[in-house]
């Protein structure tokens, strides 16, 4: 090749190459710098600083505490004195130790000798056996050698054991001298354990506390490239095998890297630290390994949603709580919405939605207040009437039965009511359908006025006959009012003329279970109320209103009182007259939906007015979905009209119709808008009358909407393998649902919540007895329906079942009445099983409690009962208590049938712990010391004295006695007879008897 033949300038190329190489190198450095400046590294080093400071201060605190701790100081000084005393024994100790070392040599030599002799002996034994059995050698010679060696072996063994024994003796002596020192040292290290742990931790994180080697390691372990070995700063991830992520084509274990930045999340002590280092607000329930949701098994995004693998603020799909926070985040973290992630984190105020990922079968979820409020609102408002929600499948319709409406209200009233229910009753659950955002124009109102005529016509035309029995007696308004206030009606109903500023809560909703009774007198007749009260199921077979077993007089009194509640009614409002032209238009619109224009007009011209009303009435009821909440004849099997909400929580925002409304295009913004202004998405849209949105307005306030949105967001098919205990027990679910549906908590406490009726009982006690508020509050619990805490372990299931079927009086002085609910056996059993589940009680059958009345414990029990004067408050069959009615307690003859002996014993042992605030005193059980006193001995008698000190035996004896008390079990008639003669106003302050009047109480 011609050396000169070059077409390129090599020097120029070299230069270009050099420049590009340098450029490449610089870019490579930039790449590293970019990678090592990721925010999680900053957070981790920040947290390390905080950890050093915190550990250091904790350590100082601990040291300070130790210094002030007398036990520790004592241990220190003890150690000092022991050490001093040891110096005196130094010489002796030294001598022992010298001896020990020389003995050690002896011991070793002896054992070595023994081992070598043993080896020879084993060989000799082998040779002898060979000689005897096979004839290889002389049996005699080998035999004598074996004998010789055996003797020698014995000798050596003795020698070796002797040496060992000597050694151990000396060792023991040394230990004896040092024992005190060791004890003192052990004590100190026990007290210092926490300080030691802190110190070790500090040595790990704080370079200043590290050893030189560690400090060197610390300075290089996080250098680029070298950090593949054992870096301090690294991505921390939790892999959860049981909870998988559905990638549509495969399920993979969830991987959460949240703790890479949120390092302090599971460590107490960072509650006030800035994000992301803050401690989780509820470590008792979450994250810690002893909590029900340890982070190793649940991670973070299982509840919160978001992108667990993200290690960057934006890419972990954080969602701001509102626009301001969004702005703040944009500035602070460069946040933007992660468009490509289907399950972004729940905004913090909706976090509870995440509970439904596992707990979606639970009716009430303790701790998840907002979520529970949301589901309760859904249940009260009856959303599932129009929207299928799997959770609420096959539930009864929440509105009143309209099949017999003609006997209850008038046509005009119905017309006005449907048009604007809240004008009549400010807190009705019946929502408003008319004159809303999309049907308020004159044209719309003209149409809807006629629609209402058609709907009312249909309802009354299809109303069955319902015979109203005459009210047999003249009712007394005052007595009626007293009954309404005291029987427990107000556990489900309110009587409220004007809206109050009460915040919606689970408790307030319990009193919204039945309608507000305001205006009931203006709406229906005395006869109807009387008939309804006597037998609600006759008018409405599916009603949740129970039968209170009212006497004719009581029902008449209450009806008389309710008739006085006429509220403001629809005063001044008139029903517009019927307009056939408008009606024709409506008929035509519906006809056109199914028929051609030509046919429709022919059909219309052939219709009578009644036919038109029938036809449109039916169409309109179907269009508005009235049958979702009400039983209406002809619509029994109709499908709900709304969209299914079972999985609305995972619906994508782009599947929601935002119309032309200019709001944020997120699911939550849509939920909020829809719930506050259900028709607003029709704004500016061109639609015909029956294309328009038809969801009615429920008048929810913003807090309610937030709770509802939380629940909606939580509605998704749980795909996790983890199942809470309640979800897998269908009886518990059913029982819990019945307790919810029939509003048991309106009167009772269940799972520590409920008793909504109590404030009204306080009011009644105050007004009926003329006592002040404070006194009334104090005794409210005694005159209110019982707290059902421990009910599952308290009563015998078969007794409870019978009681539910046929309730009778248990607490004699209680005026509130357990109503009769017409549940099936299955339903009652579910409720009983639910109560049992709450108390971990699983037995359905138990052996009856046999009492041996000859035992000394039984006799002691009898004596204790006598000493305790149980008969002051308790009935013994039909024997009335010796004290006045205000302290009356249940019939003790009932115990054997009603209560479980285990519970009775526990109750007698400590009533307060089972039912806080009960007036039942713990029986006085004498101790061993007490019976040493001859007076006491005489007082308690021999049987008790013999068992004194053995508290549980005595209590069991008392329990046994209670199970043998004879007498009538259902004493309702006797009790009611007494009260009808003397009245219930026994709480009126009586000057002379104040003393220990309140000391004894019922259970």
């Amino acid at each position: 090749m011609d050396k000169q033949e070059r077409h390129y300038n090599i020097f120029k190329l070299n230069r270009v190459f050099a420049i590009s190489s340098i450029l490449f190198l610089l870019l490579l450095i930039w790449t590293f710098a970019d990678d090592y400046s990721r925010s999680w590294r900053t957070y981790q080093s920040e947290f390390r600083e905080m950890e050093i400071v915190q550990t250091d201060s904790l350590l100082k605190l601990e040291e300070k505490m130790l210094n002030e701790m007398s036990e520790y100081q004592e241990a220190l000084s003890l150690l000092k004195t022991v050490e001093e005393s040891l110096t005196e024994k130094d010489e002796e100790l030294e001598r022992f130790e010298d001896e020990l070392s020389s003995l050690d040599d002896d011991k070793y030599a002896a054992s070595q000798e023994y081992i070598s002799v043993k080896a020879e002996y084993d060989v000799a034994k082998y040779l002898y056996e060979e000689a005897v059995a096979k004839g290889h050698g002389d049996p005699e010679e080998t035999g004598s050698k074996l004998e010789r060696l055996e003797a020698s072996l014995l000798q050596h063994r003795l020698k070796s054991e002797e040496a060992e024994q000597k050694y151990e003796d000396i060792e023991e002596q040394i230990l004896g001298i040092k024992a005190d020192k060791k004890a003192a040292q052990d004590q100190i290290s026990r007290l210092r354990r926490k300080a030691e742990v802190l110190g070790k931790k500090l040595q790990k994180v704080d370079p200043d506390e590290m050893t030189f080697g560690n400090r060197l390691g610390n300075s290089i372990r996080d250098l680029p490239v070298l950090d593949f070995l054992a870096p301090y700063y690294k991505i921390d991830q939790i892999v959860i095998k049981d909870i998988t992520e559905d990638l549509n084509f495969a399920n993979v274990p969830k991987v959460d890297r949240c703790t890479t930045c949120h390092m302090g999340i599971a460590t107490p002590g960072y509650e006030d630290a800035p994000q992301p280092h803050t401690t989780h607000p509820d470590l008792e329930l979450y994250l810690l390994s002893e909590s029900p949701h340890p982070k190793e098994s649940f991670g973070c995004t299982s509840c919160h949603s978001g992108r667990g693998r993200g290690t960057d603020f934006t890419y972990s799909a954080h969602t701001p709580r509102n626009e301001e926070q969004a702005k703040e985040w944009e500035e602070k973290y460069g946040w933007h919405e992660l468009h490509y992630w289907d399950t972004p984190m729940f905004p913090v105020q909706y976090t509870e939605a995440g509970c439904f990922k596992c707990h979606n079968q639970e009716i009430y979820l303790e701790g998840a207040d907002k979520l529970s409020l949301g589901t309760n609102l859904i249940e009260r408002a009856g959303c599932f009437g129009c929207h299928t929600i799997e959770r609420y499948q096959d539930k009864r319709r929440i509105g009143p039965d309209l099949n017999r409406i003609a006997s209850k209200v008038s046509k005009d009233w119905t017309y006005l009511w449907i048009r604007d229910p809240k004008a009549f009753r400010h807190n009705s659950w019946m929502p408003k359908f008319f004159e809303l955002e999309n049907n308020s124009s004159d044209e719309d109102v003209a149409r809807t006025n006629q629609e209402l005529h058609a709907i009312v016509h249909y309802l009354f035309n299809n109303s069955e006959d319902f015979s109203l029995n005459d009210v047999p007696r003249w009712g007394d308004v005052t007595r009626g009012e007293d009954l309404v206030n005291s029987l427990g009606c107000l556990g489900c109903h309110r009587i409220e003329n004007e809206p109050t500023d009460e915040v919606t809560s689970l408790q307030s909703l319990r009193r919204d279970h039945g309608p507000n009774l305001v205006g009931v007198g203006a709406k229906t007749s005395r006869e109807w109320i009387y008939n309804w009260l006597k037998e609600p199921k006759r008018f409405s077979p599916e009603t949740t209103m129970p039968n209170l077993r009212l006497s004719n007089q009581e029902a008449a009194d209450i009806a008389a009182y309710l008739m006085t509640l006429d509220g403001n009614g629809f005063k001044g409002q008139e029903v517009p007259s019927q307009n056939n032209l408008e009606l024709d238009k409506i008929v035509l619109s519906f006809l056109l939906q199914m028929n051609s224009d030509y046919d429709s007009r022919i059909m219309l011209s052939g219709m009578e007015e009644k036919e038109k009303l029938d036809y449109t009435g039916e169409k309109l009821i179907r269009f508005y979905g009235c049958f979702g909440c009400h039983n209406i004849s002809g619509f029994e099997d109709e499908k709900p009209i709304g969209i299914e909400l079972t999985e609305v929580g995972i619906k994508h925002a782009d599947k929601l119709d935002f119309g032309l409304l200019k709001i944020e295009h997120t699911k939550l913004a849509w939920f909020t808008q829809k719930l506050l202004h259900p028709r607003s998405f029709d704004k500016d849209k061109v639609k015909t009358a029956y294309e328009k949105l038809r969801m009615p307005n429920f008048d929810f306030d913003e807090a309610e909407v937030e709770a509802l949105s939380t629940a909606l967001l939580g509605f998704e098919k749980a795909s996790y393998g983890v199942k809470p205990a309640r979800s897998v027990n269908p009886d518990v679910h059913e029982g819990q649902w019945l307790v919810r549906e029939f509003n048991c908590q309106g009167c009772h406490f269940v799972e520590g919540d409920g008793g909504a009726v109590r404030p009204t009982i306080t009011d009644w006690l105050r007004s009926a007895n003329g006592i002040d508020q404070e006194t009334a509050e104090e005794v409210t619990a005694d005159f209110s329906p019982p707290d059902l805490n421990s009910q599952g372990s308290k009563t015998q299931p078969d007794w409870l079942f019978e009681f539910f079927k046929k309730p009778f009086i248990i607490r004699p002085s209680l005026k509130a009445r357990m109503p009769t609910f017409h549940f099936t056996d299955d339903e009652w059993n579910s409720i009983i099983k639910y109560f049992q589940f709450l108390d971990g009680q699983e037995l359905a059958y138990e052996s009856p409690h046999h009492v041996d009345i000859t035992t000394s414990s039984y006799k002691a029990g009898e004596k204790l009962q006598e000493l305790g004067e149980c008969n002051k408050c308790h009935f013994y069959g039909t024997t009335f208590p010796s004290q006045t009615a205000d302290t009356w307690a249940p019939n003790l003859a009932l115990v054997k049938e009603r209560l479980r002996p285990e519970w009775v014993s526990a109750w007698l042992d400590d009533p307060q712990s089972m039912m806080k605030g009960t007036k039942m005193p713990a029986p006085s059980i004498p101790t061993l010391e007490e019976v040493q006193d001859p007076d006491v001995l005489e007082f308690v008698g021999e049987d008790v004295a013999a068992l004194a000190g053995n508290r549980s035996v005595l209590i069991n004896g008392l329990t046994d006695y209670l199970y043998t008390i004879p007498g009538k079990i259902d004493i309702s008639r006797e009790v009611l007879g007494y009260f009808s003669k003397n009245g219930y106003n026994f709480l009126q302050p009586v000057e002379d008897e104040e003393g220990d009047e309140w000391d004894d109480e019922e259970w």
Binding site: E5, R6, H7, Y8, I10, L13, V16, F17, S20, S21, L23, F24, L27, L28, W30, T31, D34, L247, N248, F249, Y340, W341, D342, H652, D654
Partner: protein, 371 residues
């Protein structure tokens, strides 16, 4: 500015912009003397000078600058997926300019009776070792440097795990297939997805056998192979690059057209009442029902189709391509004209769609045969 944006949105609609380009096209790449005369008169050769390049780039860059001011256009232009297409715009034009520029220069030299530049140029010689290998190494290093900058500067456009119940809208093919996807709007999948791509590859392979003019090979020139160049550039620019651009920047949700400054509204509706040729003739023109017999029903379609492929070639051979036909001979001409007609069929179908809402010329859904 708002008016300007509206105007750009308006002219971006393919019916407008493609028509404009289609009409200007022969004046920029003149296939005949007549067009060349106008090309000179309109000074369109200015595009292929250095000033021309600067002018076009200024225009491109100006558009980008205006574009990123607008929320909607910014979203499309700077989307990480679309960045290569923006680059493509600049690169394609640069290489087009480079070849045309050199072609123009050579044309002038040849007109003046001289040899083309390449004849004298020693620069097209390079030693593999060390020069070529060295240059390639440098290119490698620079490319890696560029990729580093790109990967640091722009985050990878990753999306969430695929979800069949939540497919993207618009669902777009990879950028290099967007031309094919655009064809799917006008043709049945078996044509747009199978036949046409196959024809393209066969056609490209056939070029050296059809175009065997040795006189003008080995150097850049436009004038001396204007038919070959203009046909190729038409297929390449108008039918391939252009459709990629349209697919990337102008096709939004539901595959509707959106101007560059228009918001991609999910709910935008366009009239889509396309009808077949048979409907057009029997129902609209003749006012009678469709015949039962498939052959009778589609007879007009067959006439048009076979007319296009059987009558057009001899017709063209007698007229426009008279010289070409003579020089090529029957077979070569036959292959050539078949490929050209197939290529031109695409714009023809597009215009038929736009003007008559024509769905299919031959529609036999019974046999899945729709053309």
């Amino acid at each position: 500015m708002v008016e300007l944006k509206h105007f750009i949105n308006g002219i971006s609609h393919p019916t407008v912009i493609l028509t404009v380009i289609l009409f200007i096209y022969p004046f920029i790449f003149p296939p005949t003397n007549w067009f060349e005369k106008w090309n000179k008169r309109l000074k369109f050769d200015f595009f292929w000078t250095k000033k021309g390049l600067i002018t076009v780039y200024t225009f491109f860059i100006g558009f980008m600058i205006i574009g990123v001011q607008d929320e909607n256009a910014k979203h499309i232009l700077l989307k990480p997926d679309n960045v290569p297409i923006v680059g493509l715009l600049f690169l394609v034009h640069f290489f087009l300019w480079l070849s045309m520029n050199q072609g123009m220069k050579n044309d002038k030299l040849i007109d003046a009776g001289e040899k083309p530049n390449e004849y004298h140029d020693p620069k097209d010689k390079v030693l593999v070792w060390p020069d070529l290998v060295y240059i390639e190494l440098i290119a490698l290093v620079l490319l890696m440097a560029f990729l580093l900058v790109w990967s640091i500067g722009l985050e990878a456009p990753l999306e969430q795990p695929a979800n069949p119940t939540n497919s993207p809208n618009p669902a777009k093919a990879p950028w290099y297939f967007l031309g094919l996807q655009e064809m799917l709007v006008y043709f049945d999948p078996w044509l747009a997805g199978v036949v046409f791509p196959t024809l393209m590859i066969i056609g490209l392979m056939a070029i050296p056998y059809i175009d065997i003019n040795r006189e003008v090979s080995g150097f850049y020139s436009f004038k001396h192979r204007r038919i070959a160049a203009s046909i190729f550039i038409f297929g390449w620019l108008w039918l391939w690059i252009n459709l990629i651009m349209v697919g990337t920047f102008l096709r939004g949700p539901n595959w509707n057209f959106f101007g560059p400054f228009e918001y991609w509204d999910l709910h935008k509706l366009e009239v889509l009442t396309n009808i077949n040729l048979s409907d057009l003739i029997y129902i609209k023109l003749l006012g009678v029902g469709l015949p039962e017999n498939i052959l009778l029903r589609e007879i007009f379609g067959f006439i048009v189709f076979f007319g296009y492929f059987l009558i057009m070639p001899p017709l063209l051979a007698k007229t426009v391509f008279k010289k070409l036909h003579q020089s090529m001979g029957n077979f070569k001409y036959g292959v050539f004209i078949f490929l050209v007609l197939s290529m031109v069929a695409l714009p023809i179908k597009m215009y038929l769609r736009w003007i008559f809402n024509l769905k299919y010329i031959i529609a036999i859904p019974e046999f899945f045969l729709n053309i």
